[in-house]
Symmetry: C2
Subunit: 367 residues, 2 copies
């Protein structure tokens, strides 16, 4: 996977880049809408293209369980199955196995767990994680890692690093798809030395990009920034850096400043379905009485389908009625907001005024 | 409202026509997708246009209760509020008051009822029904009628006819919007003489079109056809005839044959959300195991967005996962199917082979 840094901020680690996949180029910093089960909730691939999404994320864990990776391979791969012709990154399932499933046993061999859907028993190994992602045909696969919740003690964190490195080696030795990149994951909790050790060993193995894992698992924001800071600095500058599961607009600014290139988060889509919408003034709850007779677009500056065609009063009405179109219009807006935010951040880096743009944005954005 | 019959079947009452509204022309027989609360569930106005919808139905009762017709008037009318620039027919609320609300008292003056949403008390009159529809700005308004459930005795049916006629007179005397057509409703249950009396009195008042009401309220299908038959024959041939709340494809064929020009039904949209999809072979349940590895489009002959882009296996996967996109893709297909069916029926009438087309369609369609 060819990654080029096209502009580097002088006052921070922020950078603008581009990487290339068999399904197209991706400009960074890039936000990846989440399509967990082979669908970005409520929206169509056409709409994703229209709002400027260049890459989406899908989950190996979910698709392995349902409908099964072999079925998707028979269908011609995930791109064809879900009718999305742009790049796809698949998460290995590491995070999901450790957060959604019932864990039975974790050994150096792999993870025994029970499905969160039907309780069926499974054994996930680094090799299987690669095999599943090969069957899905994603453009970027991620190596299986051991992901601990916040608060795990140092001993467990150390073991997780050792295991993540061991699994990373086995992942690299597994047969991937043609043109399929593989990212390694950095674990180590909030322990700087463990993170550094993990970076050293994982980068020694060598991957197409590096994901910072085990953040956004319950620790305070300041710790996420701290971990991201020293971890990102230690990673090779010529490979993309992906901060898993982050985040809201304010976090994206912080992470970009620390040298992060890629993000994914369910927040824009999940918030949308809860009626919480992004605006330059911060998040608003569309159900609020104050919008009852407000016939302005949600955001007058926004070019999304929702803001071009509907008023706050209509969005409120649909949401209060429980209309499915409300969830869809809200999602279109929130994703558009995040994607445009990344595009503007990128432009500001290229133009050499990232810190000005960040300050300007955060001066009006309430969170 | 200018209605022209452009072709008349020789072997039956089936006819093809066109009527004109301020928001465009409508070719008949016409199926009206239902947008009860100011949104055709799950789909956007762009998608409605793309699938060939020429007119949609919305409900005065629902919009009066929420968000309120005055709010929609402030928004610039229902077309602008919901971003649909084609024709809209609004149901008067008669059917909904009598089926959804808690009825408190029905007198010649009007209907006292309690909202199905919050139990609030309301008094609906023929004048208010016209006022609400004027505020909404629909292209076709419908006069308030008294709608009885199937099985109501003759005495009550007679009273409902008398009241419906009385209310129709008051509706005509109420001030409508500019370019707003008004349809009268024929009641009378399954009593032929009452239907005939109602036709006589309602047509004597004079409306832009006539709706056959009080069908699809629980009576056997054969009775719906019988009532539609003698009622449609008695109605003036130069005005559109609208059979309220009908129906599935097989019923549309029967009704067209009896001289009906317009239909509305929640079935295509509701079935879609339950995974029940129309095909030329009949309805299929997309959740069925047999579609698990079926990588063909739902209907290989269908030109809808869903069939052009997705497989049965994918639709089944999404539906089983409870993905909102499933409801949307299913709805797009079912509405497209109904609209195309009406377009094909119309073409067959124009080409003089309606009965051949009907026979051909029903020979493979299982219901």
């Amino acid at each position: 996977m060819n990654f080029e840094v096209v502009a580097q901020d002088t006052a921070s680690e922020a950078r603008a880049g581009t990487f290339h996949t068999a399904h197209g180029a991706v400009d960074t910093p890039a936000f990846m809408p989440v399509g967990t089960q082979g669908s970005v909730k409520t929206v169509s691939p056409d709409e994703l293209h229209e709002m400027g999404a260049q890459i989406i994320l899908s989950n190996a864990y979910h698709l392995y369980l349902r409908p099964g990776h072999e079925l998707i391979a028979e269908a011609g791969g995930l791109h064809k199955f879900m009718n999305w012709d742009g790049p796809i990154l698949t998460d290995s399932g590491g995070f999901q196995v450790f957060s959604l499933a019932t864990l039975n046993e974790v050994t150096d061999g792999g993870v025994k767990f029970q499905s969160h859907i039907d309780g069926s028993r499974h054994f996930f190994t680094p090799e299987l994680a690669v095999e599943v992602q090969r069957a899905l045909g994603s453009d970027i696969a991620v190596a299986l890692d051991e992901c601990l919740p916040h608060g795990a003690d140092r001993q467990r964190a150390e073991q997780a690093v050792r295991r993540t490195v061991h699994w990373a080696r086995r992942s690299v030795s597994s047969e991937r798809g043609d043109d399929q990149a593989l990212f390694g994951v950095i674990q180590g909790g909030v322990h700087r030395d463990l993170r550094m050790r993990c970076v050293e060993e994982i980068t020694a193995i060598g991957f197409d990009g590096y994901a910072v894992g085990g953040v956004s698992v319950g620790e305070p924001k300041q710790q996420v920034y701290e971990v991201s800071d020293y971890t990102a600095r230690a990673l090779p500058p010529d490979k993309p850096r992906y901060l898993m599961g982050v985040g809201p607009p304010e976090d994206v600014f912080e992470a970009v400043e620390l040298g992060i290139d890629m993000f994914d988060c369910v927040m824009p889509t999940r918030n949308a379905r809860n009626g919480s919408l992004f605006t330059p003034r911060g998040r608003v709850n569309i159900e609020n009485k104050q919008y009852e007779r407000d016939f302005r677009p949600l955001d007058e500056e926004c070019g999304c389908y929702t803001c071009r065609n509907y008023t706050r009063a209509y969005l409120r009405h649909l949401f209060k009625c429980g209309e499915i179109l409300a969830l869809r219009l809200n999602t279109l807006h929130n994703l558009h907001f995040m994607l445009q935010l990344c595009a503007k951040i990128r432009a500001s880096i290229v133009e050499g005024n990232f810190s000005v743009y960040k300050k300007e944005f955060l001066s009006t954005y309430r969170y």
